[in-house]
Symmetry: C2
Subunit: 286 residues, 2 copies
C-alpha cells in the first residue's frame, strides 16, 4: 500500500492558503494536489503556478468552472469559464510530470423560480458544446461532475454518471470527460455499469473519494467524511474505476466543519492514512 496516487484536494484543508497547502502536501510526502480557483486568485495565477512548480507536486485538477444553467448569467459565467480554462492549463504546465490539465465543472442548479429541469439540462449541453473548442485550444480537459441528487435544485442539475456521459457524448473524450466522486454517485443502482461505460468511452478525467456520513447536515453540503468514516464501499467503486482504465491521481476532497477546524497537519495525516487503508488496496498493485 502507498500514497503514490494520492492527491490532496485543497478544499479538504479549506482554511489553508495555496502556499500552505503546497507546503503541507510536500512535507507529508503527498505527491499531488487539486487546487481551487479562489485560492489561486488570492496570489494570482503567475505566482500560484510558480509556487506549484517549486513544490515539485503534481497538479490533478482545478475546481471549478461551470454554473451553466442560469440564462441571465451566461455572459459572466462564460468569461469565468474561459479564465478557469486558462488557469487549468497554466497550473498543469507548472505541475510535476503526470499533472492533469483538468477543469472540474459544477453545472449549477435551477435558477430562482425556475422549475424547468429539462430546460436547465439543455442549457448545460449547449454551454458544454460552446466551451469545448476553448478547452481544446488550451489543451484542457473539462470534467463534467454529476452531483448527488440532493443538490439538484441548488447546485447541479446533472445528477447521475449516465446523464453526464450522455451530455458529453458528442464531444471528443480528450476535451470533455467526467469527474467521478464517490460521494455523489455511490447510491446509484446503475453506478457500476456507468463507470464501465465511462471507461469504454474514455471519459474518466478525475476520480475523487469522499464518504457519505449521516445524519445529513443542514444544506447537505458539509456531510462528507474521510473515506472509511461513512457508508460508502470504496472497494467496489475504486476497483470499477481502475478496471475502467483510470490511471490518474485520486483526490480526497472532504467538506466537513470538523475537518476544516482541525489542525492542518493532522488532517493531511488522517487523509494519507485514510487513503492507504481505504482506497490504495483497491488500486492496481495496491
Amino acid at each position: 500500500m502507498s500514497i503514490e496516487r494520492f492527491s490532496l484536494n485543497q478544499a479538504t484543508v479549506k482554511r489553508a492558503d495555496l502556499a500552505t497547502v503546497l507546503d503541507l502536501a510536500a512535507a507529508a510526502g503527498v505527491p499531488a494536489v487539486g487546487l481551487w480557483r479562489d485560492r489561486v486568485a488570492e496570489i494570482g495565477l503567475e505566482e500560484a503556478a510558480s509556487r506549484l512548480a517549486g513544490s515539485g507536486l503534481r497538479f490533478s485538477s482545478l475546481c471549478r468552472g461551470g454554473f451553466l444553467t442560469d440564462p441571465g448569467a451566461a455572459g459572466e459565467a462564460w468569461a469565468e469559464n474561459l479564465r478557469a480554462i486558462e488557469e487549468a492549463a497554466a497550473l498543469a504546465a507548472a505541475g510535476a510530470p503526470g499533472s492533469a490539465p483538468v477543469l472540474v465543472l459544477v453545472v449549477g442548479g435551477l435558477p430562482p423560480g425556475d422549475r424547468d429541469l429539462r430546460g436547465a439540462r439543455d442549457r448545460v449541453r449547449r454551454m458544454l458544446h460552446r466551451l469545448a473548442p476553448e478547452a481544446r485550444a488550451r489543451g484542457v480537459r473539462l470534467a463534467l461532475e454529476p452531483m448527488h441528487p440532493v443538490f439538484c435544485a441548488d447546485r447541479a442539475v446533472v445528477s447521475t454518471l449516465a446523464q453526464a456521459l450522455d451530455l458529453v457524448a458528442d464531444l471528443d473524450p480528450e476535451v470533455a470527460g467526467v469527474a467521478v466522486d464517490t460521494y455523489h454517485v455511490w447510491w446509484d443502482p446503475q453506478v457500476l455499469p456507468a463507470i464501465a461505460r465511462a471507461g469504454e468511452e474514455g471519459r474518466i478525467a478525475c476520480y475523487q473519494v469522499c464518504d457519505w456520513i449521516t445524519p445529513v447536515p443542514e444544506g447537505a453540503l458539509l456531510g462528507r467524511g474521510l473515506p472509511g468514516t461513512g457508508h460508502i464501499d470504496f472497494a467496489s467503486l475504486t476497483r470499477a474505476v481502475e478496471e475502467a482504465g483510470y490511471r490518474g491521481d485520486v483526490e480526497i476532497e472532504v467538506f466537513h466543519r470538523e475537518v476544516w477546524d482541525a489542525p492542518f497537519e493532522r488532517v493531511v495525516g488522517d487523509c494519507a492514512k485514510s487513503f492507504e487503508n481505504t482506497v490504495a488496496p483497491h488500486l492496481r498493485g495496491g
Copy 2:
C-alpha cells in the same frame, strides 16, 4: 378544477390523531385519506376501521410496511409487515367505494456498519417475494416506494423508480406495485420514461405529491413543502402519471416542522388550495 381526487395523508397533520384527521377531512370536503399505522394503533384497528367507515371517506393507502434490509430484524419486520397487510385490508374494506387496499413499503437503509448496498438490495427483493403471497391472500397491494437518494444510507436503499420496477418485475402487478412520490423522484433524468414504463407494466399503486424545498434541513427528512412552494414541476410529473393510466387518489404528504406546528384547519385548507392550483389542472378533466 376540483379536489375530487385529493387525499390528505395523515403525516401532513402529524400531530392530529386519527379521529381528528377524519373530522378535518370531512369538514373540508376532502374525499379521501391516507393513514399511518401508529395512529391506527392508538385506537386499535377495529375502532379505526369503524370510524373510517363512519366518516364516508375513501382510504387511499396505509403507511407503512417495509424495513426489509436488516438481516437481524427479519423476524420482527416480517411479523410487523403481516400486521400491516391485515390493517391495509381492513381499512380499505371500511373506506368508501373507491378505497385502495395499498400498503406503502419503505424498505430501510443500510444496517449499521454495513456498506454492502447490493446485498441490502438483494434482501429487499427476497423479502418482497416472501410478502407477496401474504398480500395476495388478503387482497392487499404492496407499493414499493423508491426514496430520494439522500435517504439511501439511512432510510431506503431503493433510490429510483426504475430500480423499484426491476425489484417487483417478477411479481403480479396486482400484488406488487410502486409508489410514485414527486419529492423522491423529481430529480431523476429518467423519471418520465420510468413513469411511462410503470404504467405499461401496470405498477402505479399510489401517487403522492410533495415539493422539494431548499435549503435541505438537517437529516433531510423535513425538507418537504406543499406543492407549489418549492422546485418541482408538478405539471410534467402529474401528466406523466395520468398518461400512465393512474386513476386513483393523489395524496399530499408533507413532512415539515412549520406545517406540523400550524393549526390543523389551516393546513388542510392550504393543502386543498395547493391541490387545486398545482396538481388538479394536470389531471384528466382538470
